[in-house]
Subunit: 449 residues, 2 copies
């Protein structure tokens, strides 16, 4: 049996590795546009900030490593034709000045084409010094440029924008982050929680401008200024962290149904076309809270979808469940994470909710080095937990995971408030901040009835 | 209404505070033998090791603080008579050389008498330099003595024994830990996981002697030697960390039914005697895995039981659920925790189990400072998770909490393997070590069928 996978990111390679894990014989070919495979795009900002020494470090595997597992990787190659009724595709690569075309047949095709940066239609995005941030090559270019200049403007205060802004600040640049919405990290945090992260960023020396979209980038051959609302900012470089768009051109060519943003798949990761699977940033998934389609451009989602597709391809049974988009980030010393719905998002979706909050410590009060922790739990009026946001200088990720499980298992806030947590003075409080937030939610609910 | 609580530890004071939280009028009196209340006994080893500066720091509240909440605390007083059919008790305290007796009536009595150290019947335990470790006063005495001497033997390699041993080592003493069982931390860890902790302790300079009970403590007026099996160890001090015994004398006097070890209570924390509740180390609880009675001498259990009793006393409804004994400890830089049943304990209880293991990292492979993490998940042959043990130099406690919830909600290992975890390179791996262990368990189960 032959499987061809288009895309060498987390989703594509997770599919490949998992197929091999369960089946020794299937012929596996991965075709990718990029020169690098198996690197961690989430880690690019950590190379900029100097925590990770160099970009080479974040490349987990080389194509040769996959050859050892009998997985064939074709890099710098572009698929340009899929004939799905014949189970065939064509790709090309450049051999010097020569364009070489090849044809491949497959039993199963896996589209893992990911997403590209979305660049808004404004003037000046073509100027030198304007960068998107998506691939490791983007990382190289940004680092090279940043080493020579002083003022950076990062457009977009989502995760990647903020992480990159912090990285550039650590490189010694003066950095301004701009966001058209009135808060940072709008997708994952409510305004009250976002402002805690924002204060931290500002304390660390970043300037944040909210509520104004970028109007224009101005310069001769290279960027000189950025116009944001009424403000004209000096800029030697601009990072466009303005979102992503799923790459769906090939899926369309293959005849796959497309949803609102991306490729439609069922819970086995099958597209509407027989023998074609799709995984990763190029597909739509179900949101476990709203029941509607959504995007889940997370490394963990990609890896889990790859595993799901692989299992189904080898004839095992696996389903990808609706997502909660559990996420975490660490900027400087601040860790923040979220899972499920924000309060704002629930309200926008017509779900009546309350929130329970706690501000506590990460260790016993008397234990040196205890950090402040903020927890916010969102629940419906019948007590079902649908979201959680946590911010602290340590121990956030695993608490998000606990809450991810709680939401997935329909734990109510009163049940959470009586849950058994572990405790030792150097690592926790005798009553966990999550319990305090759950108790606060229960108290608010009791006053409603 | 009048409530009298006997015991000023976590269970008693949690009961008192929670009653006051829900009811402003109830008259609350707490009677305790000790001079100190509201301190964290779990923190004594951390004062010894110097992480926490002094014993005063671990006292969270003084009796005056409770008076502000209109909770009356009587310290250094001993209840010596309970007449439960008349809802009355008598206690005494010493006023200089004078023994003063008082009588109190109650509507509800809460027995939170805790436990005392168990000292085995061997020779020499009366010698100077032999200490139990239970109260803050024990802590004072141990610290004073340890400042003057050089060789310590800690008898018992449970949590408190190991934590204390490490504390004494940090004070500069040569420390030997002895344990009659063939492994350390037998209650919470399987031998394979315990040996990881043991190697760490040994690397840190502690000597561990397993599989030999203490025979005798030898000396003139103060301890000089300890006889363990064939070995004679020099010792200037001996810490008897040989377990605890619930204090049930008063409960017996009141006519409360006693189980195998401790006071029997129902899920509301009511004893067999009308209007008498019992909470904390002096009660027996249900083990969620075996369904049998067990002990749960944990601060978190005490706090949760106090809250349960309080709610029922004020007329709200609350149930204390069977325990998983979620625990965590940090010794030096090593954090280890467990929840549910060990593999050994399951086998002893006739439960057929397999275990899934992973050895992974706490951060992305390329991220500086990533620590090794060991996870072991125990599940029944139908895939139900019944226990978990985790060891790493960071981020263990919250993972134990996730597993506590997983076990409580009957999550299967295949379900856990597909669970949604959060990820960022500085704080986790893209596939969490818990997932890797769950996958390993699934794989072993699949080979059984």
């Amino acid at each position: 049996m032959k499987v061809v996978i288009i895309g060498g990111g987390a989703a594509g390679l997770s599919t490949a590795s998992n197929i091999r894990k369960y089946d020794e014989d299937i012929e596996i070919t991965v075709i990718t546009r990029e020169s690098y495979i198996a690197y961690s795009p989430c880690a690019i900002p950590y190379v900029l900030c100097g925590k990770v020494e160099c970009f080479e470090d974040i490349v987990m595997h080389k194509p040769e490593d996959y050859l050892e597992k009998n997985i064939n990787i074709v890099t710098k190659a572009e698929v340009f034709e899929i004939t799905s009724n014949e189970n065939k595709l064509k790709y090309y690569f450049n051999d010097g000045y020569l364009r070489v075309e090849k044809e491949l047949s497959y039993d199963y095709l896996v589209i893992a084409t990911g997403a590209t940066s979305f660049i808004p239609l404004i003037g000046g995005t073509h100027l030198k010094g304007v960068f998107k941030i998506r691939t490791i090559e983007d990382g190289f270019k940004i680092k090279d440029w940043a080493e020579k200049y002083h003022n950076a403007v990062v457009v977009g205060a989502g995760l990647i924008g903020l992480e990159t802004a912090y990285g550039l600040k650590e490189m010694g640049l003066k950095v301004i982050v701009t966001e058209m919405l009135p808060q940072i990290i709008p997708r994952s945090l409510d305004p009250d929680m976002a402002s805690i992260v924002q204060h931290y960023m500002e304390k660390e020396g970043l300037q944040v401008i909210l509520g104004n979209p970028i109007e224009e980038i101005v310069g001769g051959t290279r960027v000189e200024k950025v116009i944001i609302g009424d403000e004209v900012l000096d800029a030697d470089m601009v990072i466009m962290a303005t979102g992503i768009r799923p790459q769906i051109k090939l899926a369309k060519m293959a005849g796959c149904s497309i949803g609102r943003w991306a490729i439609l798949v069922n819970e086995k990761m099958q597209t509407s076309v027989a023998n074609i699977y799709a995984v990763g940033d190029c597909v739509e998934v179900y949101d476990a809270i709203t029941g509607q389609n959504t995007q889940s451009p997370l490394g963990t989602t990609a890896v889990r979808q790859g595993k799901t597709a692989a299992k189904n391809i080898v004839g095992m049974c696996a389903e990808f469940k609706p997502v909660l988009n559990a996420m975490v980030s660490k900027i400087g010393e601040l860790e923040f994470g979220a899972v499920g719905s924000t309060k704002s998002w629930a309200i926008q979706n017509g779900i009546d909710v309350i929130s329970g909050e706690s501000k506590a410590l990460t260790k016993a009060r008397y234990y040196p080095g205890a950090k402040t922790i903020d927890v916010k739990i969102i629940c419906t009026l019948n007590g079902r937990i649908i979201g959680c946001q946590i911010i602290a200088e340590e121990r956030v990720a695993e608490r998000i995971d606990t809450m991810s499980l709680a939401i997935a298992k329909n734990v109510s806030c009163s049940e959470l408030a009586t849950m058994e947590f572990s405790y030792a003075p150097p690592v926790s409080m005798v009553i966990d901040p999550i319990i305090l937030a759950a108790e606060n939610a229960c108290w608010k609910l009791s006053r409603l009835n």
